[in-house]
Symmetry: C2
Subunit: 138 residues, 2 copies
C-alpha cells in the first residue's frame, strides 16, 4: 500500500469511528461492516439504525471541495439497500465542516463516476440532527 493510500485509508477509518460514536451518543446503533470495499458482495461502510429505521452508509472524508466516487461503489450501495430494504446514504465530511448526508439519488453523475461537491451537499443534503429525525425513506 502506498503512503498516500495508507493516509487516505486511515483518514477514512477515523471519520467512520467518529460517525459511529455520534450515532451511539444519540441512542442509535452503528457498526462498520467487515470487509467493506473488499467483499465479493455489495457492502456499505456502515449500518446504523434506530427503532426499525436502518441506514446503509458510505462514508467519505476529504480536504477538497469535491469528491469523486467510482460509479460501482454507489451502484453497489444502492443494490445492497434495495435488496435489504433499507435507506442508502452518503455521509460526507469536508474539512472543518459538520457532517453532511446525501441520499444517493441526489448525487450528481459524470460520464464515469458520481461527484459530490460541498455546494451540492449544502443545497440538497442534511445535517446529522436532521438525518436522525427524518421519517423512514422505505
Amino acid at each position: 500500500m502506498s503512503i498516500a493510500h495508507s493516509r487516505r485509508k486511515s483518514k477514512g477509518s477515523a471519520a467512520e469511528r467518529e460517525l459511529i460514536a455520534r450515532f451511539w451518543e444519540v441512542g442509535w446503533t452503528a457498526h462498520r461492516i467487515a470487509g467493506s470495499g473488499s467483499s465479493q458482495h455489495p457492502s456499505p461502510d456502515l449500518i446504523a439504525g434506530s427503532k426499525g429505521r436502518v441506514l446503509a452508509i458510505e462514508v467519505k472524508a476529504t480536504n477538497d471541495e469535491k469528491k469523486y466516487f467510482p460509479r460501482l461503489e454507489i451502484d453497489e450501495l444502492n443494490e445492497y439497500a434495495s435488496k435489504t430494504g433499507v435507506e442508502a446514504w452518503v455521509a460526507m465530511k469536508f474539512f472543518r465542516t459538520p457532517w453532511l448526508f446525501l441520499k444517493t439519488s441526489d448525487l450528481e453523475q459524470t460520464p464515469s463516476s458520481y461527484v459530490l461537491t460541498k455546494e451540492l451537499c449544502e443545497k440538497k443534503g442534511c445535517g446529522f440532527e436532521q438525518l436522525i429525525i427524518l421519517p423512514s425513506l422505505q
Copy 2:
C-alpha cells in the same frame, strides 16, 4: 491466543462464511459486523436482510450436543436488536446437522448463562428455508 481458542475462532468464522453464502444464494444480503465480540458497543455477529426484514444474528457451531452462551452475549444481542428495531436470532450449527435458528426468547437459562441443546433447537427452532419466509417479528 491459545491453539484451542484459535481453532474455535476459525471454526466460528468458517460457519459464519457458510451462512453468509446461504443468504446471498437466496437473494438476501448478509455481512459480518466488524469487531463483533470486541466492540465497545453491543454487536451481533451478522446482519442479514431482505425487503425490509433485518435479522441480527449470533452464530454458533459445536461438535457437542449443547452449547453454553455467556449471559452478556445474548443480553447484548437483544439490546442491539431492540434499539435498532430488528430481529434477534441465534444460528446454531451442530455437527452433521443442518442450520437451526432460534429466537433469543426461546433460549433456556441457567443461573449464569444461556444454554442451547440440540433437542431444544429441534423443538423450538426452525431451519433456514423456514427462517427466510417467516413474517417479520418486529
